[in-house]
């Protein structure tokens, strides 16, 4: 069975909510929609206090090429435009909407019927994806239309769809593949048309045999789409690792990007969002969110409107347990610990993970014993112990030479370290510094 070639680790999977069907989350009293739910320039608000909006009304437009539009997830009245602490931990401008009823824009097709036919041109598809405000749903939130418009000179050869969900605990993509199988496949066909290729691979780890089976059954109806079962290994959902696992090509070090090896990678959630946008005229205003944790009463998967407070989802899953130590936006390997549970669900919120105090505690750091387990674990072929030590000594020339900018921050090194050294903390610090140095150097040229 295929997998990526360098490094990797095997965290306990803990997919507690894998057999919980997607439930529709009830509407909150108020939604908070940050203007920056994606990588790139923040969106620019189109509404002001007092404006009445419907579900699907565009309330902010893309603030540049790498940016994404934002649509209202509810019907009601804009109560204010203010700042809010979002899942990143930073205070960001956001649109607050008080919910009244549930009235949708008329252009949206609300029927459950599958629409297979798509007669749009590639340019029209990309324009629709852009208009719907779709971003990478795996968590990175890179605007989807940017990836569908290859830079001059680059040519796509295939579409690779990420159904790996290698983060422990998370099951949103898994459920989506089981419950929206054909929709995803139509979405993939549309993506293939958009980048003018006739081959697509959907990579799924073999800890989801039901999803692999179901997708394989339906995929025969869609020419050019191949389901690729993958051996379970973290971080297989990393874009570069996935490309290596599926087609055996390695994207060179930055600034190279996947298109340089002919691949366009999108998440299954993104493919589903593309289906809805193109076939149903439905912009991106809701997503599946896994709410999970060992101490939580009912780990669940919720179809949630953007802007719903996380606290509401936790409540619906049984309430915040007494022994909660950490609440994480995303999975345990790459998610962000939150300082408050009143943050809004955004386009990149794949999960909410509750950890009890015992799980949340970090082990005490001991001296590096040079066991080289981090070197074996690094999926990018770097030497994490060296990058961390050199970063802690502020030796920026050295860390740049040692390839720190290639680090994908997957955390495999720290996960595997017998001495519990906080390597990734230092590597992130170094990446930040070296990134700034490189930008300054390029600006001078």
């Amino acid at each position: 069975m295929k997998t990526f070639r360098i490094g990797g680790v095997h965290p306990s999977e803990n997919k507690l909510s894998a057999d919980k069907p997607i439930q529709i989350m009830e509407l909150p009293k108020q939604v908070v929609l940050p203007l920056s739910q994606h990588i790139g320039a923040p969106a620019v608000a189109l509404v002001k206090k007092g404006d009445v909006v419907k579900v699907g009304t565009k309330i902010a437009e893309a603030g540049g090429f790498v940016s994404a539009a934002i649509h209202s997830s509810v019907s009601g009245k804009v109560s204010k435009i203010d700042t809010v602490i979002d899942a990143s931990g930073y205070r960001k401008p956001a649109i607050f909407i008080d919910v009244e009823g549930d009235e949708w824009e008329e252009s949206i097709d609300r029927t459950p019927d599958l629409v297979k036919e798509c007669n749009l041109t590639p340019e029209e598809i990309v324009a629709k994806v852009k208009e719907a405000g779709i971003v990478g749903m795996g968590g990175a939130c890179f605007p989807a239309h940017v990836k569908l418009a290859p830079p001059p000179g680059a040519k796509a050869e295939c579409v690779i769809i990420n159904g790996v969900e290698c983060e422990p605990y998370l099951t949103a993509d898994h459920r989506l593949m089981l419950e929206k199988t054909e929709e995803i496949l139509v979405g993939v066909s549309i993506l293939m048309k958009a980048v003018k290729v006739n081959k697509a691979y959907i990579g799924i780890e073999n800890n989801k045999p039901d999803a692999i089976r179901k997708m394989q059954e339906k995929a025969v109806l869609y020419p050019g789409i191949e389901i690729v079962p993958l051996k379970v290994k973290y971080p297989q959902g990393g874009e570069k690792q996935l490309i290596d696992a599926v087609i055996g090509r390695q994207v060179p070090a930055p600034p190279a990007i996947p298109i340089n090896v002919g691949a366009v990678v999108q998440n299954v959630g993104t493919a589903y969002a593309v289906y809805e946008a193109v076939q149903k005229n439905k912009p991106l205003f809701e997503r599946v969110v896994t709410v999970t944790g060992k101490s939580l009463k009912n780990p669940s998967n919720f179809l949630t409107r953007m802007g719903t407070p996380m606290s509401m989802l936790i409540e619906a899953a049984g309430g915040l347990p007494e022994d909660t130590g950490k609440v994480i936006g995303g999975g345990p390997m790459m998610g962000k610990a939150l300082s408050t549970i009143e943050v809004p669900i955004a386009k990149g919120s794949s999960g909410v993970l509750i950890m009890n105090e015992k799980e949340a505690a970090r082990g005490e750091a001991q001296p590096c014993i040079r066991c080289a387990k981090c070197v074996s674990a690094c999926p990018m072929g770097l030497e994490p112990f060296l990058l961390a030590t050199a970063s802690s000594l502020s030796d920026w020339d050295k860390v740049e030479k040692e390839g720190i900018m290639s680090c994908i921050e997957c955390g495999s090194c720290q996960f595997t370290c017998p001495s519990h050294r906080p390597m990734l903390d230092f590597i992130r610090l170094g990446k930040g510094k070296v990134g700034a140095i490189i930008r300054a150097r390029n600006a001078k040229k």
């Binding site: 360098i6 680790v9 965290p11 931990g89 422990p168 570069k240 290596d244 090509r249 390695q250 994207v251 060179p252 070090a253 190279a256 090896v261 915040l320 909660t324 950490k326 609440v327 994480i328 345990p332 390997m333 790459m334 998610g335 962000k336 610990a337 939150l338 300082s339 408050t340 549970i341 993970l353 105090e357 799980e359 949340a360 505690a361 970090r362 082990g363 001991q366 001296p367 590096c368 014993i369 040079r370 066991c371 080289a372 387990k373 070197v375 074996s376 690094c378 990018m380 072929g381 770097l382 030497e383 390839g403 290639s406 955390g411 720290q414 996960f415 595997t416 017998p418 001495s419 990734l424």
Partner: protein
């Protein structure tokens, strides 16, 4: 909300590996060899290993507390116990207590704590202790009790080791090689030697355990063993009258103990697989060179210490293969 949440950077989970698990894992892997040594050398083996372990742990504790004045105690991490065990394994079973204690002081004091303790020492501490003793007390370090004397310690009857016989053969004693025990006896451990080094089969069991528990990888032990076998084998083919068979080389002296437990010490060995193979091949080569052409009958300790010195250099030049250096399969 009344309670505050813990905020830290990802990853939020840990694989559960620890320094202790690795150290105690190696100690468990040494148990078969320990049992064989008790069976072969009886009381002497027990006294020597116990003294060595207790002395090493004591010195680590005393130096940390009274000289470095560090608040954290490191004696429970298992590394001092391991150094003590390995030092004891590298001594003859009739070694007087006071010499063992000096060896432990040099191993832990000079070999490890001087450099800052666990993780910072450039040379394998147990080998630093052993080589210090070998140079300082050559007579005591080269008198080897015969196996099977269960109740004797200092008064044990001694005999020449296979390695000494092999050296005499090289120096012109034509009958020396014929006095060697047969290969199966060497493999099982029925020959004079240091406490823990005699039984190749027990040490190989330890290797299997460490590979299974993923404590070490195969690269260092296998590259040493293969190199010694090939190099010694070529010499044997050239002149079997003078040079012993490669199997004899593999199963005598500290070769297995060194290849499996001493050269694989995390702290003093290279970080990449490529580096580990270079390091292993060099150790195997140097060992045979010393055994066949050097002044000492055994070269394992020296070979490992010499290559310990090269480890930083190997680390500088042997980088792991970065992602993206291979574009196509």
């Amino acid at each position: 909300m009344s309670k505050s949440l813990i905020v830290s950077l990802s990853p939020h989970v840990h694989g559960g590996d620890s320094v202790q698990k690795n150290m105690y894992g190696v100690i468990i892997a040494l148990v078969p060899a320990l049992l064989v040594s008790f069976y072969m050398f009886g009381l002497g083996a027990l006294v020597v290993t116990l003294t060595s372990v207790i002395a090493c742990v004591f010195f680590e504790w005393a130096i940390a507390k009274f000289i470095l004045k560090s608040k954290r105690t490191t004696i429970l991490d298992g590394s001092a116990i391991l150094t003590g065990l390995l030092l004891g394994f590298n001594l003859p079973s009739n070694m007087p207590l006071w010499i063992i204690i000096i060896g432990a002081l040099v191993a832990i004091g000079v070999g490890k704590m001087t450099f800052g303790g666990l993780g910072c020492n450039p040379f394998n501490p147990a080998l630093v202790g052993r080589v210090f003793l070998l140079i300082s007390f050559p007579v005591q370090m080269t008198s080897w009790p015969v196996t099977g004397q269960h109740l004797s310690y200092l008064d044990a009857e001694t005999a020449a080791t296979p390695l000494a016989l092999m050296k005499s053969a090289i120096h012109g004693d034509a009958s020396a090689l014929s006095q060697l025990p047969d290969t199966l006896d060497l493999f099982l451990g029925m020959n004079p030697g240091c406490v823990g080094e005699i039984s190749a089969v027990a040490l190989l069991l330890g290797l299997v355990y460490m590979l299974w528990k993923k404590i070490i990888t195969w690269h260092i032990p296998v590259s040493i063993i293969v190199t010694v076998f090939v190099f010694a084998g070529i010499m044997h083919l050239v002149n079997p009258e003078v040079y012993a068979s490669p199997f004899t080389h593999l199963f005598t002296g500290g070769l297995m103990l060194g290849a499996i437990f001493m050269a694989t010490d995390y702290v003093t060995s290279p970080m990449t697989h490529k580096g580990m193979i270079i390091y292993g091949v060099a150790i195997g080569f140097l060992t045979v060179v010393i055994r066949l052409f050097g002044a000492y009958p055994e070269g394992m300790s020296f070979a490992i210490l010499i290559m310990n010195a090269f480890t930083p250099l190997i680390n500088t030049y042997c980088k792991p293969k970065r992602f993206g250096e291979v574009v196509k399969k």
